[in-house]
């Protein structure tokens, strides 16, 4: 599995979006197939059991676009159609929308089982008092 796990290192994949997960999540492989299953809300629990909480930035945010395109191989409007179908047929919960990368970090840090994404070039907000977010850099297959 071509996977690198980078603790707190925000510079590894410049110009890319970067996955972040709550520290409660065991370092799991996150290949494209699993990411698609998570972000289309088909897979609802981590392999070791806890529920997955998905956080996303607005569809129009360039980071969303980059993340969906590069790491899921999907367009944001196609994902939106998947979520809308669940929301308006009562067959699933849509991802939780956050307004900024700062909010993304805070919510992912505070929510067990959470997964989200930020831009890889952004500074990481860490202090010794805070548990670090787990940054997962994904190599493209």
């Amino acid at each position: 599995m071509a996977l690198a796990i980078l603790f707190g290192c925000g510079q590894a994949y410049a110009q890319s979006a970067q996955i972040i997960v709550n520290p409660s999540v065991e370092a799991a492989s996150l290949d494209r197939e699993r990411l698609r299953a998570i972000f289309t809300m088909r897979m609802t629990a981590w392999p070791d059991g806890p529920p997955i909480r998905v956080f996303v930035l607005p569809d129009r945010d360039p980071i969303s676009d980059r993340f969906y395109r590069e790491q899921l191989g999907m367009y944001s409007y196609v994902l939106r159609a998947v979520w809308d179908r669940m929301v308006f047929t009562g067959t699933g919960l849509a991802p939780t929308l956050v307004r900024s990368e700062e909010e993304m970090r805070a919510r992912v840090r505070a929510t067990p089982g959470a997964i989200g994404y930020v831009s890889s070039g952004a500074p990481t907000l860490r202090s010794p008092m805070q548990s670090p977010l787990l940054y997962v850099g994904l190599q493209r297959r």
Binding site: E33, R36, T44, P51, V78, F88, L93, A94, L97
Partner: protein, 390 residues
């Protein structure tokens, strides 16, 4: 008044999707319809605002894999929908397989039937390509309580095979009464009392989503048997077997999408008086469209569509029908619709849509909405809609 109440509800619940384990969402849209001739979705030849739709839903994940949800909705569309409050869906969903390679589960309650790309979310403008759905969805026939949502049990499964994601949804609907407001659009017995039931109704859809949804192919099937009963002294009875087989295909590129769907709609009708058959019909209607959508920017989108709708696929120009039914117009048996449209989305909550239809034929018109007859068989339809979602 009802519209205002729904908007207030929407506003009150606007802080939706804050919690992970329950969500509240909704939509509200107001339309304006203008036709050069004929009435469609209300008294549109004078310009009509009789077209609106709104809904509010809630979903809660009780335990992982188990969801309960419901949506209340109103919709008014001239004669074909009366604006009454209805339960659009109310269901429990238990997903017993949920992994990266697949999922499977069951649902029970009032469920949405999977037909084509758009049926399940057909009343939410944000999920449609245009204000008026293509003719394969029979937007002016109001089959909502008949075909498109119904109480029943549903099984679903998804499985990933390489770059293909295959999904299946199968529904067995319960036997049920047809709403009075729908009955009057389906059957006219000149004022005689009657009841219409639907039974043996089921549907299934298989969809292949290839390469992250870039290509999508689907086949949907629906069957239902309508039975007509009258009081004993009238002794009129009927059965109407209705089938739908829909083929769906779509290509999604970054900026544009191309969608095509085609439906075959066989009807086997038998009417008896005192047990003696007086009418036996076996007619297959077909409808289809080819549609292009272009996303100019995150705010602006354009669409164009060629649509054809035929009441009898062996008599597409209606000549045989007109010959067999003196006084009937052959143009009532088909419609060819050329549509162009545009929309503007200010943000994820608000949007405005506009579209123009040039239509040859009167198949989609409701007789009860055009009591003095059709004024022109070639007509134009302009639709505007402003909508909010959360």
């Amino acid at each position: 008044m009802r519209r205002i109440a729904v908007l207030l509800l929407c506003a009150a619940a606007c802080a939706s999707a804050r919690a992970a384990d329950y969500q509240v969402h909704g939509y509200a849209a107001q339309g304006f319809v203008y036709t050069t001739d004929n009435n469609f979705f209300g008294p549109s030849s004078d310009g009509s605002t009789d077209y609106y739709e709104a809904g509010i839903n809630a979903s809660a994940q009780v335990v992982p894999g188990f969801i309960v949800s419901g949506q209340a909705a109103i919709r008014d569309a001239g004669i074909s929908d009366d604006g009454s409050l209805r339960v659009d869906y109310a269901l429990a969903d238990y997903r017993f397989i949920s992994s990266e390679t697949g999922s499977a589960g069951v649902r029970a309650g009032k469920v949405k039937n999977a037909v084509g790309f758009y049926n399940e979310t057909r009343d939410v403008i944000f999920t449609r390509p245009s204000i008026l759905l293509p003719s394969v969805y029979s937007d002016n026939q109001n089959q909502r309580s008949l075909v498109f949502t119904a109480p029943g049990t549903q099984a679903y499964a998804t499985r990933v095979f390489g770059r293909h994601e295959l999904s299946f949804i199968g529904t067995k609907n319960f036997n049920r009464d047809v709403r009075k407001s729908d009955e009057r659009l389906l059957i006219d017995l000149g004022g005689l009392p009657f009841d219409l039931h639907i039974r043996d109704s089921w549907n299934a859809q298989v969809m292949d989503s290839f390469d992250g949804g870039r290509w999508q192919f689907g086949v949907s099937y629906f069957f239902g048997r309508f039975t007509l009963t009258t009081p004993p002294q009238i002794t009129l009875a009927g059965t109407f077997d209705v089938g739908l087989t829909m083929f769906s295909a779509r290509y999604n590129a970054e900026r544009f999408s191309v969608t095509a769907e085609y439906v075959l709609n066989p009807n086997e009708n038998e009417v008896t008086v005192g047990g003696i058959p007086v009418l036996r019909q076996d007619i297959t209607a077909d409808r289809g469209y080819l549609q292009a959508e272009y996303r100019l920017s995150p705010h602006w989108g354009l669409m164009a569509r060629l649509d054809g709708s035929f009441s009898d696929k062996h008599d597409r120009n209606g000549r045989e029908f007109a010959a067999a039914n003196p006084g009937s117009a052959r143009e009532s048996r088909y419609a060819r619709d050329v549509t162009v449209g545009a929309h503007w989305r200010s943000d994820e909550h608000w949007g405005v849509w506009a579209e123009y239809h040039w239509i040859d034929g009167t198949a989609p018109l409701q007789r009860a909405e055009n009591p003095q007859g059709v004024s022109d068989t070639r007509w134009s339809l302009v639709m505007l809609m402003a909508a909010f979602r959360f």
